[in-house]
């Protein structure tokens, strides 16, 4: 087995993979069938089929414009906020149709949290940022305890415990992103969606976010979009590679090329497009 990506030990990758449950014992959280998304009639993503497993870190990788961010936003109804966005196909969440007519987006977002590319703390105190979710959802019993636990799980408590009333905007970028993760944990979701969570951070802050993903995997299911292949190799159990297809008139549509265990994607991809991308020959 050769080292295909610089900076990532394949032996460690494979060792990690062996700790994961067998395919038959995996618990399916999301079952995606023939999913497509179009904006104002123009397809942005089509024919996606995959399953996302509980307590796994699943990474979506691929070049710009491949629809990976569009895809992750389908899981918590965030595309519904974009006028003209339409979703085809189905996503089942523990067997329930995520886009069924009786589904309340608010209920979905409560269980499926999201962390964004650019840290987006609210212009409020650190405490109020974390307390916002519990407050709007009426989970106000032992609010102080909730805030403290969320900050602890996000590995931020020790840095901020003496200044909970300080503005969240006074934190560094990396701290802000961990605050956004804490904010998300405070409403006790089952799934955490992360849309390029470290792309605006420096390498040290990035490492801390990645360590956090490893730690959170025990209690949460994590889906992460990243344009950084090393990051996917370091954090993900399963990796989905998306690519761009050019339709008529040069319109670009994202497609799922390959979805498999991370070591497989990085060492023995079954599609040549995946291989070209992970070995850096993509062009």
């Amino acid at each position: 087995m050769s080292d295909t990506i610089p900076g990532v030990s394949m032996d460690r990758l494979v060792a990690r993979q062996q700790q994961l449950p067998e395919p038959s014992q995996r618990d399916v959280v999301f079952d995606v069938d023939d999913l497509g998304v179009s904006y104002s009639g123009k397809p942005a993503l089509k024919d996606v089929n995959l399953e996302i497993y509980r307590n796994f870190v699943t990474a979506f990788i691929g070049p710009s414009g491949c629809g990976k961010s569009t895809f992750i936003r389908c899981f918590n109804h965030m595309n519904a906020l974009i006028p003209g966005a339409k979703i085809h196909g189905t996503i089942h969440y523990h067997g329930a149709d995520l886009y069924g007519s009786e589904v309340d987006p608010v209920e979905v977002r409560k269980r499926i949290g999201m962390v964004f590319q650019k840290p987006n703390p609210f212009p409020k105190s650190i405490y109020d940022n974390v307390a916002f979710g519990p407050r709007v959802l009426g989970m106000t019993d032992d609010l102080d305890g909730r805030v403290e636990r969320a900050l602890e799980h996000a590995a931020l408590w020790d840095e901020v415990k003496d200044r909970l009333k300080a503005s969240a905007l006074s934190l560094s970028g990396g701290q802000q992103q961990r605050l956004c993760i804490a904010r998300c944990l405070a409403v006790e979701p089952e799934v955490i969606l992360m849309d390029e969570p470290a792309s605006a951070l420096d390498p040290i802050a990035t490492t801390r976010i990645e360590d956090l993903m490893h730690a959170l995997k025990k209690d949460y299911t994590i889906v992460v979009v990243t344009h950084n292949m090393q990051q996917a190799a370091r954090v993900a159990d399963m990796t989905a590679f998306f690519s761009v297809e050019r339709g008529e008139e040069g319109h670009r549509t994202g497609v799922l090329v390959e979805y498999d265990a991370t070591p497989k994607i990085f060492t023995q991809p079954s599609d040549s497009r995946t291989e070209d991308y992970v070995t850096g020959r993509f062009g």
């Binding site: 906020l81 916002f132 709007v136 905007l169």
Partner: protein, 289 residues
């Protein structure tokens, strides 16, 4: 050995640049000179009557004991009613237009164009509307409430536009972050967008207020009296500081002109205080996203 020279070969655009700069200085000079002249002449002329008599006594035929108490009180009442009316309506309209309105609908576009045009309508036109609709149409009469309602209409477009700007300046990432935590649209607006937009809304509202308090024409039309010697009530006869000044200026006696200058000093003091307060709020709560 050659030395690199950074000198321009010929002075490109130096003359036009200098001319333009001179023009800018002249423009700013005209503005400052006008304001300075106004302030100096008014203060020099009216200073001797700025005292407790002016602030606390009703007007009188004798300039020595004449004050502007009813006018000052009415101006305060007008200001309070104006804020009470225009801020909820203006902010509500702005929230609708920024957060709810679908711009593909013709009525929303019409609304938008309409509000922009209303902001440019001269205030006396609102006065005519007030006379025809409020005073006579629904029979409110020539009362302070009618004056406050008309001034509300005068400033409403300004308040709406300022509130829309403030709401639009709240980044979408804040809304998305709140939605992603399971907040409803109402909670997103009420707990994130409005608090973040409040400094901008407050600044715009105060500037609109100070504009309204200097208005004379629409108040004259809805029946602000020039001579009121008792404290105003909301449903009674009223005057206002600019109307009182107007009345004093129109008198033939020199002493009343001095009194008018004193009234102007009081009015200017109120307006400049309000504007300073608006600037203070803006600087105090300025956000960096």
């Amino acid at each position: 050995m050659s030395v690199t020279t950074l000198r321009a070969e010929r002075p490109r655009g130096r003359t036009s640049s200098a001319v333009f700069k001179a023009f800018l200085y002249v423009s700013i000079g005209v503005g400052i000179a006008t304001l300075g002249t106004l302030l100096i002449t008014v203060v020099a002329k009216g200073w001797k009557y700025v005292d407790l008599v002016l602030l606390l006594e009703p007007p009188s035929a004798d300039p020595q004991i004449a004050g502007a108490r009813p006018a000052i009180l009415a101006t305060i009442y007008l200001g309070l009613l104006l804020i009470a009316f225009s801020v909820p309506i203006g902010v509500g309209t702005a929230i609708y237009m920024e957060e709810y309105a679908n711009r593909d609908r013709w009525y929303n576009r019409l609304l938008e164009v309409n509000i922009q045009n209303l902001a440019a309508v001269p205030s006396i036109v609102y006065g005519i509307l007030g006379l025809a609709f409020l005073v006579r149409g629904i029979g409110l009469g020539r009362v302070l409430l009618a004056g406050a309602m008309i001034l509300t209409l005068v400033v409403l477009p300004t308040v709406i536009i300022a509130a829309r700007e403030a709401i639009r300046a709240v980044p979408d990432s804040i809304r998305q972050g709140a939605y992603a935590l399971g907040a409803t649209k109402w909670q997103v607006i009420w707990r994130q967008v409005l608090p973040a937009a409040t400094p901008g809304i407050a600044t715009g509202s105060i500037l609109a207020l100070s504009r309204a308090l200097g208005e004379t024409a629409p108040l004259l039309l809805v029946g602000a009296l020039t001579y009121v010697s008792f404290d105003p009530t909301i449903l009674g006869d009223f005057t206002a500081l600019p109307v009182q000044i107007y009345q004093w200026v129109a008198r033939p006696q020199e002493d009343f002109r001095v009194l008018a200058a004193s009234g102007i000093i009081v009015l200017l003091a109120i307006l400049l205080t309000l504007n300073a307060f608006a600037i203070w709020i803006r600087n105090r709560y300025q956000r960096k996203w």
